[in-house]
Symmetry: C2
């Protein structure tokens, strides 16, 4: 009889960035990192894994397309989970069966929104459920895609780089649960972009090899920031949280630029968003919104719920859509008259940008970690182990 | 009887960047810097200074427009030169007369091409001639605009930060004269840009206050680079010279980005130029062209004379002008068929950019330092001390 599980896992957005590996194979990072977990109501990866004596080989379908299982990172995760399962006494029979994996994101992969982190977190979490593995599996998810380890838990999560050379203590732990700071919302501004980009894997490898500034960031800047931002999160001190978040994003992109040849992820639109947020905070007289950018041009804004409506109104004005308003996905945004704020921002020299520089906008909040879906309608595979969307 | 002198001074383009002051008032830098002096045949500042017992006050005209003399940096330079003149035995009478200053650049100030460096170098050099001051005046020019001290000499020039707290040993010396490396040419790509920019004075001040990475750059990166690039220049080792130049430009912009709020000077076009140069060098199999960017979006390319024609052909292809070719000012550029190189660059993923992203192009070379013009037709002031263009 076959065994099947279906799980979902969230996207996470780092506020202290992971950039650079100490060990390329085991994916041990050069520094601790820290992220917010985004609500799965808006964005998640969903994975069904089925093990059956009838399967002649391991198969995987990603977003409806069959991919090769002959992927070093995929195999590393599977091997590690099986090793742990054996230790935990899982039946040898179950472990001997081949598996079918079907995984989907409910958001465009192309958006460059850390989809591999959610995907690997979901894969490893589902495997752990399938094989009834106990204890922390973040150190296994890490070997799929580094930042995947931060997508297992909800709230704010810290990935400790660890000290051991085998990576056994390089794992993620929850700093605070989502319920600690329920006002924390997130707006993602997806930027229209055509440029071919440097993959983050090769970009960070090149930074490790060529950037002198990365060494300083790792040794002196991040250790202090991690302590300070953890404290700010625990005490719900938004201005401190926001300032560290923005500075760390800027520093990560500075290091990418100090790489040779340089790795450039932000574009003119990204930098205009940065300008706008600094103007907005200046007009408000205190830090109300933080920006952060991953290895791509999209902005992720951290802000408290009462600031959402005005921020969106201001974004709509300065980054107009030819349909008059930007398409917002996710949580509803209440209407807001931001005329006075807009006027004050314009007085600071900020100019209204051209039409349609933003592709779309996602409004979400901090949410829970990966979880198993117990209802059988959730499965993505048929009783025969074929993706339902292909049946 | 009045006294009059007219001098010209060149623009310089740093290959090791000056960014950050140890002393804001005396303009003592945090690190040594090094630049190439551009030929005055293409670009220069020209200044006439006249002293007369008939002048009722000090006056200054910049590019045809009268400006206030009540400028702290202008007055600091004048005071220092007069102090030195007294030491050198210049007549008290001459020193007691008021002066009229008329200064013009033969290139657009708006181009963001370090016009203040050439302008202050010319002002201080002309004052030194007027008052017959002996010895180094670069430490005085430095107090007008830091990098002005590097515009007094030709060839390659190093600004030593010095050790003294009074700035007396913070001065510029020639590394090699222009004749040492006559093949060294420079192409300036002036980028169309509308963005209001952060002035370099306030940008570097903010970097000193907020960038952790600047500290590391100053303490560890620049000292090594200065030694290495000086060696490369002396031995005419272009690839080493070029690589250090590009890395230092990238690092300077990385530090500007690590500033809070960030100071962003390069734009998408600047970064596309960087991409193009890396592709060009890759196709050529060795480093043939170096880019460097000051506090603005314009690219300055250092390259040897035999590479000029092909580089311009490639630039023309990837940054097309709606008039089919970009307007090149300065030295002539021979025609060149770069079809094979263009094809190879496109195979690397480089895309042809939109029309008219470049405003114009200047082709020049390394040249001589500031000098006095002895013919009386050169003067910009009439016998009465009025700008000729206003007479």
């Amino acid at each position: 009889m076959a065994s099947i599980v279906t799980c979902i896992a969230p996207v996470n957005i780092a506020v202290i960035k992971y950039w650079g590996k100490k060990d390329e194979k085991l994916i041990i990072p050069l520094n601790d990192s820290l992220s917010g977990t985004l609500s799965m109501d808006q964005m998640h990866a969903k994975t069904t894994i089925m093990a059956s004596p009838n399967f002649t080989k391991n198969c995987i379908w990603l977003n409806g397309k069959e991919e090769t299982f002959d992927n070093i990172r995929l195999l590393a995760c599977l091997k590690e989970i099986k090793r742990r399962a054996q230790e935990d006494g899982t039946s040898k029979e179950l472990l001997s069966w081949n598996i079918h994996v079907c995984s989907e994101n409910n958001f465009p992969t192309a958006a460059g929104l850390a989809s591999s982190a959610a995907g690997y977190a979901c894969f490893v979490f589902a495997l752990a459920k399938l094989y009834k593995v106990k204890g922390d599996v973040s150190q296994i998810a890490r070997q799929g895609s580094g930042s995947a380890c931060r997508s297992l838990e909800g709230g704010f999560v810290r990935w400790h780089m660890g000290k051991s050379s085998d990576g056994s203590d390089s794992l993620a732990t929850q700093v605070v649960p989502a319920s600690h700071w329920p006002e924390m919302h997130v707006i993602i501004l997806v930027v229209n972009d055509k440029k071919k980009k440097v993959s983050s894997t090769s970009g960070m490898q090149r930074s490790v090899e060529t950037s002198d500034l990365l060494k300083h960031r790792v040794a002196y800047c991040v250790p202090k920031r991690i302590v300070d931002i953890e404290k700010a999160i625990k005490s719900k001190d938004f201005p401190t949280f926001a300032e560290i978040t923005m500075k760390d994003s800027n520093q990560f992109h500075a290091v990418a630029l100090d790489t040779f040849p340089p790795a450039v992820y932000m574009n003119d639109v990204s930098h205009s968003i940065v300008d706008l947020i600094h103007c907005f905070n200046k007009v408000k007289g205190c830090t109300k919104v933080a920006y952060t950018f991953d290895a791509g041009p999209n902005a992720c804004l951290y802000l408290l719920e009462p600031t959402v409506a005005e921020t969106m109104a201001v974004v709509d004005y300065f980054f107009p859509s030819s349909n008059s308003k930007n398409t917002v996905q996710g949580l509803p945004v209440p209407p807001c008259n931001a005329k006075e704020t807009v006027k004050a921002i314009e007085a600071l020299g900020m100019q209204r940008q051209g039409d349609d520089l933003l592709k779309y906008v996602i409004h979400t909040q901090i949410g829970e970690g990966a979880k198993q879906l117990m209802d059988s309608e959730s499965h993505l595979l048929s009783a025969n182990g074929i993706p339902l969307r292909l049946v």
